[in-house]
């Protein structure tokens, strides 16, 4: 989700990412925003995202995260994975009893 957000919106700070995820999920996914940071750290260590200091809307110093080339690749792979998984699961739900006989 983080990767996709960054992919769509480009460079973004932590708060922006958290907000965006909330918005897209229609506030259904309201986890503690703080948990976002360890995830960002992990992604950064893996090289999927990079970060720089920049100025936020209210002119504070904020850290902006952006997707790297590797992150894009990762996103692609993950998307594919997810779609595959979703498709498989989806098929299970579509299956009706008579199809199996």
């Amino acid at each position: 989700m983080v990767l996709k957000t960054l992919d769509v919106l480009g460079s973004l700070h932590g708060y922006g990412i958290a907000r965006r995820i909330e918005q897209i999920s229609g506030d259904l996914l309201a986890v503690n925003q703080g948990t976002l940071y360890p995830v960002l750290l992990k992604l950064e260590q893996e090289g999927a995202i990079a970060s720089d200091w920049g100025a936020s809307e209210n002119n504070r110093r904020a850290r902006f995260y952006r997707l790297t080339k590797e992150g894009r690749k990762l996103l692609q792979a993950e998307t594919q994975d997810w779609q595959q998984t979703a498709a498989i699961i989806g098929r299970f739900f579509e299956v009706k009893a008579e199809d199996l006989s």
Binding site: Y15, N32, Q33, G34, Y37, K42, Q45, S56, R60
Partner: protein, 896 residues
């Protein structure tokens, strides 16, 4: 891949921890500020807006923890923390720390130094690529599992075996007369004859030029080419690359330098570092044996043969193949090869069979390990008492929720820090000991050949050192760590000094005392025995006079004398010396007794002796001497006569044997007048004309067979002149020089010195080194044990101060209390003594079977050692007990 990348990122983060913390804080603040602003826009009051923002963010501290854990490597961070903590707490007790570190350093240093011996003697791989594929091929007989091959045999092995990628041969390193320019006096260098494929098959690339080509080793005397050793090139030619193509003189013959061996290849010998390599085909220039033809005689065995196993060929296959070949040899050449087998040895086998010195190394290592063990028990005891004193601190930590594992890790880290410090200091000590060995080099090798003690603190030894440190950290740290974290919290927090005398706990400490006593006893027994063994070897009578003798060695091959010239030179030399004033008597001998070089061997069949069916002949060591030898050396002739001037080359051949030989083969009758036949029962008959007293020949060995042959009938090239003088033997040096100059001014005199000097260096100071080493190990062991024992017992007693107070308060007499604590100590020492004696006996058996007969139990050792330990224990128990008794009971009860 991803996880690896993360690992490095985390590792990098370790360094920038503080900056990272700031970054996180700033980010969180920014986040909350933004959310607050948003909330404000939504119409909340500023306070409420911030509250909501915080709520939404969730637990800041929990998240920070998570973040930190993900960011760095908690394990490493904790370790760094622990190390810091350990260093801090160790610095608080500098005396104790220093003692522990020194103790461990002694143990580790001694062990690593002695291990470097064993490593050099047995384990260190050959300095060639893929050393494990190199095997040693030897000829075997009834008398020797390690005999050389002759040139002909080598050629057959090389051409008829299929198991190897290259079979190489080399002769022993020999003294070679080297001059860089014609006309200069030759100097002695160590030269080695090697087969043409030597460097190629070993995989050694010369650093300059090339190795030998096979065709340079085919025609005797055709290709005078030489490859220089790396050190020789450095010292003689100042690393000059233009040395290639240059002509040098070896034994008076011109040789062309074609290559320089690389620094990584100091040679295949354990002790020697050849200066020069020449092809086997050049043997006519170097051969020592005037009796045999190197290229033709199948019994002229001078070559060590090594080979590189083909990949995929097993040792078993190679052995079978060679065994078949040896059988063929026996059939085809019964004269030279009857009852002679062959064997293929791995590097380990070859080194352990060829030279027995490694056994001393192994015993040294065992002793050093015992020192280390004593050191470890000492440290364990100390740490234990320290940990007990810290029981409260630990209890507090436990109560605050520290995991037991975490605490054990903390305590172990402390012992690891100690062991590391000890290991570092131990490396220094190891270096010191190895340096000390090196300083004795000239004593051990009284020779002009390039020999050196090969013990080094190299990578392998340092690695062993490291392993030892880690091991000792575990040994001395684990028990205290386990024990001190197993605390009853309530009790521990209540009183400063918990003493729950659990049986187990006391048992642990008592074990330490017992181990202490028994190890030190074993150590002392062993070093006493060894020292005495060497000492006895020194005291033994050698059987000849050593004083008032001047020795000097000649090697006419160095200036290209032929056999006739050599004979003539020695004849004239002996005659002139006898006429020289101040010379009481003169002797020429091929080898001096107790010298550096091995005696030649002689194969013979004694007349009238029933030969065992599977033997063609017997072997004995022999020496070639002139008429004056027995008189000059003061060796009595027991029966028959000494050699005479009339025993010339044309006269019937004669020999003199020693008493041991005579008794061995003619136990009933007189050996004088009997004959031995050389090589085989149809060989040349030699009459025994005299029986000489048995002396010490090679070293302090038990009596052995020995044969003397007269120089005129058995000429050799290299001889030692021995002169007996009335006064200072050094006064004869000038007269000898004059005589030699009048005979041939070009002939160098080698190793001119009083024999007594030589003997003291060779036979006395060598063993002295071993005695010093063993003695100091024993002493260090005893000192450590005494210190440790005192510490442990005193500590044990002082722990009982309160108990003693109670006993006194209840009316116990002070003598009862004393008896109680001292008796307890004595029981422990008693146990230790019994175990120590048992281990000492076991070690003695081992040493007797391995090294020398040290002559049974050394009562003296026990008389000294056991009471020392007893007295120390009693003192250690008495002093603190006394102190405890002197305190008033009320005070004792309140103690601490």
């Amino acid at each position: 891949m991803k996880s690896l990348r993360r690992f490095f990122a985390r590792l990098a983060n370790l360094a920038t921890r503080r900056a990272q913390d700031d970054r996180l804080r700033e980010e969180i603040e920014g986040h909350i500020a933004l959310q607050t602003a948003e909330n404000l826009r939504a119409g909340l009051s500023p306070v409420e807006a911030r509250r909501q923002a915080m709520l939404k963010f969730g637990g800041v501290e929990a998240m920070k923890q998570d973040y930190r854990a993900k960011r760095g490597l908690p394990f490493v961070e904790n370790f760094v923390q622990d190390v810091r903590f350990a260093l801090r707490s160790l610095r608080r007790t500098p005396g104790l720390t220093a003692f522990v570190v020194i103790t461990l350093a002694l143990g580790i240093g001694m062990t690593s130094a002695t291990f470097s011996m064993v490593d050099a003697l047995i384990f260190r791989p050959y300095p060639v690529p893929h050393p494990s594929g190199v095997v040693t091929l030897v000829s075997t007989t009834h008398d020797s599992p390690f005999d050389d091959f002759s040139y002909r045999e080598y050629l057959d092995i090389r051409d008829k075996t299929k198991s190897y990628d290259g079979v190489i041969a080399n002769a022993d390193m020999e003294a070679v007369g080297f001059s860089a320019e014609p006309g200069t006096t030759p100097r002695i260098k160590g030269g080695m004859m090697v087969s043409g494929n030597y460097f190629h098959a070993l995989g050694v690339e010369p650093r300059l030029g090339r190795g030998f080509r096979e065709d340079e080793d085919q025609v005797p005397g055709r290709n005078p080419v030489v490859v220089l050793g790396p050190d020789f090139w450095r010292h003689e030619f100042a690393s000059d690359p233009s040395v290639l193509g240059k002509t040098i003189l070896l034994n008076g013959t011109k040789f062309t330098v074609i290559g320089v061996a690389p620094d990584t290849f100091p040679g295949m010998l354990t002790f020697g570092y050849p200066d020069l390599y020449v092809p086997l085909a050049m043997a006519p220039v170097f051969t020592t044996n005037l009796q045999k033809n190197f290229f033709e005689d199948r019994d002229d065995r001078e070559l060590s043969v090594k080979a590189r196993l083909k990949p995929g060929t097993t040792l078993e296959q190679a052995r079978n193949e060679l065994a078949v070949l040896a059988k063929n040899f026996e059939r085809e050449y019964p004269n030279s090869n009857r009852s002679r087998g062959a064997a293929v040895y791995t590097q380990f086998q070859a080194r352990t069979i060829e030279d027995q010195n490694w056994k001393f190394g192994v015993v040294f290592v065992i002793l050093a390990l015992a020192v280390l063990l004593v050191a470890c028990t000492n440290v364990a005891g100390l740490l234990l008492s320290r940990a007990r004193a810290r029981a409260r601190e630990i209890a507090v930590r436990l109560a605050l929720g520290a995991g037991r594992f975490r605490l054990i890790r903390l305590l172990l880290t402390e012992s690891i820090v100690l062991a590391t410090l000890g290991g570092l200091a131990g490396i220094a000590i190891g270096y010191g000991v190895v340096e000390w060995f090196h300083s004795k080099q000239s004593i051990v090798f009284a020779t002009e050949l390039p020999m050196a003690i090969p013990f080094h603190m190299d990578k392998r030894v340092l690695l062993a050192c490291l392993a030892l440190s880690a091991l000792s950290a575990l040994l001395c740290g684990l028990a205290p760590a386990l024990q001190s974290t197993r605390v009853d919290l309530v009790n521990a927090l209540k009183s400063a000094d918990v003493e729950v005398p659990g049986r187990k706990r006391l048992w642990g400490r008592n074990m330490l005392v017992v181990a202490q006593v028994s190890m030190s006893l074993m150590l002392l027994t062993a070093s006493f025995l060894m020292a005495r063994g060497f000492q006895r070897a020194l005291m033994e009578d050698t059987g000849f006079t050593k004083d008032h003798l001047l020795m000097t060695r000649f090697d006419p091959r160095l200036i290209q004398y032929n056999a006739a010239q050599t004979q003539q030179f020695y004849k004239l030399l002996a005659e002139r010396m006898r006429e020289t004033p101040g010379v009481q008597s003169e002797a020429l001998t091929q080898n001096i007794p107790l010298g550096v070089d091995d005696f030649d061997g002689v194969a013979f069949v004694p007349d009238g002796f029933q030969m065992p069916p599977d033997r063609a002949n017997f072997n004995s060591a022999m020496d070639t001497i002139d008429e004056g030898y027995f008189e000059t050396m003061g060796i009595p002739i027991l029966r028959g006569r000494a050699f005479l001037a009339s025993d010339t080359a044309d006269a019937p051949r004669v020999a003199i044997v020693n008493e041991h030989f005579a008794k061995h083969y003619w136990p009933a009758g007189d050996a004088v007048g009997k004959h031995i036949r050389l090589d085989r029962s149809a060989g040349t008959p030699v009459e025994i004309v005299g029986v000489a007293q048995t002396i010490k020949y090679q070293n302090m060995e038990s009596p052995m067979d020995f044969v003397y042959m007269p120089m005129a009938q058995h000429p050799v090239a290299r001889m030692v002149l021995m002169l007996r003088s009335g006064g200072d033997p050094l006064q004869l040096v000038q007269p000898v020089k004059d005589v030699v100059r009048s005979l041939d001014p070009n002939l160098p005199m080698l190793q001119t010195r009083p024999y007594q000097d030589f003997y003291l260096n060779q036979a006395v100071r060598g063993p002295r080194i071993a005695i010093d080493l063993v003695g100091s190990m024993g002493l260090v062991g005893l000192l450590l044990a005494v210190a440790g024992l005192y510490g442990l017992v005193a500590y044990n007693v002082s722990r009982r101060t309160r108990e003693i107070g109670i006993r006194i308060a209840l009316g116990a007499a002070s003598s009862d209390v004393l008896r109680l604590v001292i008796g307890k100590g004595l029981v422990l020492v008693g146990f230790g003594t019994v175990i120590g004696l048992a281990m000492g006996f076991a070690l003695e058996q081992l040493m007797n079977s391995m090294l020398f007969d040290s002559g049974g139990v050394d009562i003296l050792a026990y008389i000294v050692v056991v009471p020392t330990l007893l007295v120390v224990t009693m003192l250690a128990a008495y002093v603190p007990a006394r102190r405890a008794l002197r305190i008033a009971p009320t005070q004792a009860l309140r103690y601490e």
